[in-house]
Symmetry: C2
DNA sequence: GTTCCGCATGAATCGATAG
DNA sequence: ACTATCGATTCATGCGGAA
């Protein structure tokens, strides 16, 4: 009965191929068709984080909490689709928790292939100092697939070398060079001539992006560039992107901008409303010029 | 008897506080004193890598192969010492292997604390393209400790502050002063004066370092800057640094340069000889100027 | 219009204190 | 002893208003 009440909640759908749902994704996903999603990109609530809003899943219960959801995700994902999971274990009592790596093992047992682990290097991580720990400035982006063969469009995320080197060199400061330990010609000095000759280069599995923590009216967990990159890499226009933990809707917003169908599910009304606002706000931007 | 023959091998020791051994570290470590090592920094042979040299430990046997060695490491490490393990699982058959994360769980079971996972971002990794995978440009640097309290000298690895401060922190904002007693906040607080004209900040747990592309006669697995950084962070001058999988001796070379006692063990004569040469070569550099 | 500067705040972590 | 809350610590970024 609890489930009924959850399913019996509002949803928003418009002509722009957007669907957002208010409720528990575990319930909503059951109504989704098999093999209907091209890309799942999501950042679930981390263990013991956002206790005030999401209720704080305990680390020791995290795997058991997640598996019923990922079982549905496995069902709705297309055979050549991809599941990207953004997550990071916290440190507590001087030690890193193991629930994330236990989740990887559990997901494999459930039938997922653990294809790759990308690193999101957050340039502006939270400050702080502790006696036995440096600042944590990276998160995991775990890639899972249903099969060994899947859709991937590496050309679409190629970096234009010329532009990159230009802007990079312009913005590059002396301190940046020092900080990067670029002692032995790893980069910016002498090899420039080679880059000018080449046009595009394939990227790697480390992403450097700042978090968005400014004073906008919506505060997203990850920057738009993050889902954008994976949407480019794993989908075509017209494909369907799902975020079962939508939050303020960044994944859906970006999907919409990129002419993909975006589906989002969010359990908290505040976030759901925020996402709806953002999507309508985008209408103004799209049609108001 | 096989072990006997291994122990019965040459070793090299000189006045500069260097010890390097030719043989199996599992055997040699048994002769080491309890609680005698301040830092263990090593990059063991990865599963199925370097088959021709190390005999290729199969991924499924990796944990069982490593545990007897790490048991000795746990014994010889000082209570306030640190163990840094540089490792990365390979991709096989379209999937990342799980032996590294299984090793983390097994080492915790063995009594190690899994304190932290640093990321080594290899900036100049080889170009290339694979059908289902981008270039892999990062490796894990797993930190394990015997206790929650351990030696750490963060001041010694501080980096130049980002350029933002040059323009931003000329004069302090009013809120930064107010934030002092604000209950909502992680304020800059009382020590704001420290920030004026601040040159250096504490680093984070992502390291950007180029691999050393080998125009030298030894091809090291990691650049000297890598052990250097951890030696700075976790040891004082005069401390003892151990690399049980010495390879061409980078860890020992750097330890020596930094006035730490360096101990290395290597099972392959070619690498052992290479390390010995490097260490002697360093004599020329040290005394020849 | 650019550039400069004020300002808020972000999946943080630990130790101490309180219940 | 074990958990909940609070205070202290510290970078980097985007936005918005001012010069």
């Amino acid at each position: 009965m609890k489930e009924k009440s959850k399913i019996n909640s509002k949803s928003h759908n418009n002509s722009r191929n957007i669907e957002i749902y208010l409720g528990d994704c575990k319930d909503f996903l059951k109504s989704f068709d098999n093999d209907s999603i091209d890309l799942i990109f999501t950042s679930p609530p981390y263990a013991d984080r956002r206790n005030s809003t999401y209720g704080g899943i305990k680390p020791e219960n995290y795997v058991n909490w997640f598996l019923p959801i990922s079982e549905e995700l496995l069902r709705v994902l297309k055979p050549d689709g991809t599941f990207i999971l953004n997550i990071k274990e916290k440190a507590e009592n001087g030690e890193r928790h193991t629930y994330v790596i236990e989740l990887i093992l559990a997901l494999r047992k459930q039938g997922w292939f653990w294809t790759e682990e990308f690193i999101w290097h957050k340039k502006n991580s939270y400050p702080g100092k502790w006696p036995n720990r440096l600042r944590d400035t990276w998160e995991r982006l775990l890639q899972f697939n249903k099969n060994k063969k899947f859709k991937m469009f590496q050309e679409s995320v190629m970096v234009p070398v010329g532009d990159w080197s230009k802007t990079r060199l312009k913005n590059l400061s002396q301190t940046d060079k020092i900080r990067d330990n670029a002692k032995n010609g790893s980069g910016f000095g002498k090899n420039i001539s080679h880059w000018v000759a080449r046009e595009m280069v394939y990227p790697a599995n480390v992403l450097h992006m700042a978090t968005e923590c400014g004073n906008k009216n919506h505060s997203a967990v990850f920057p738009e560039a993050l889902p954008e990159w994976f949407i480019k890499l794993f989908t075509n226009e017209g494909d369907t992107v799902l975020d079962p933990f939508m939050g303020s809707g960044t994944t859906v917003v970006v999907s919409n901008k990129m002419n993909r169908k975006g589906i989002g599910i969010e359990i908290l009304p505040e976030y759901y409303d925020l996402a709806k606002e953002r999507l309508n706000l985008d209408d103004i931007y799209l049609f108001g010029t």
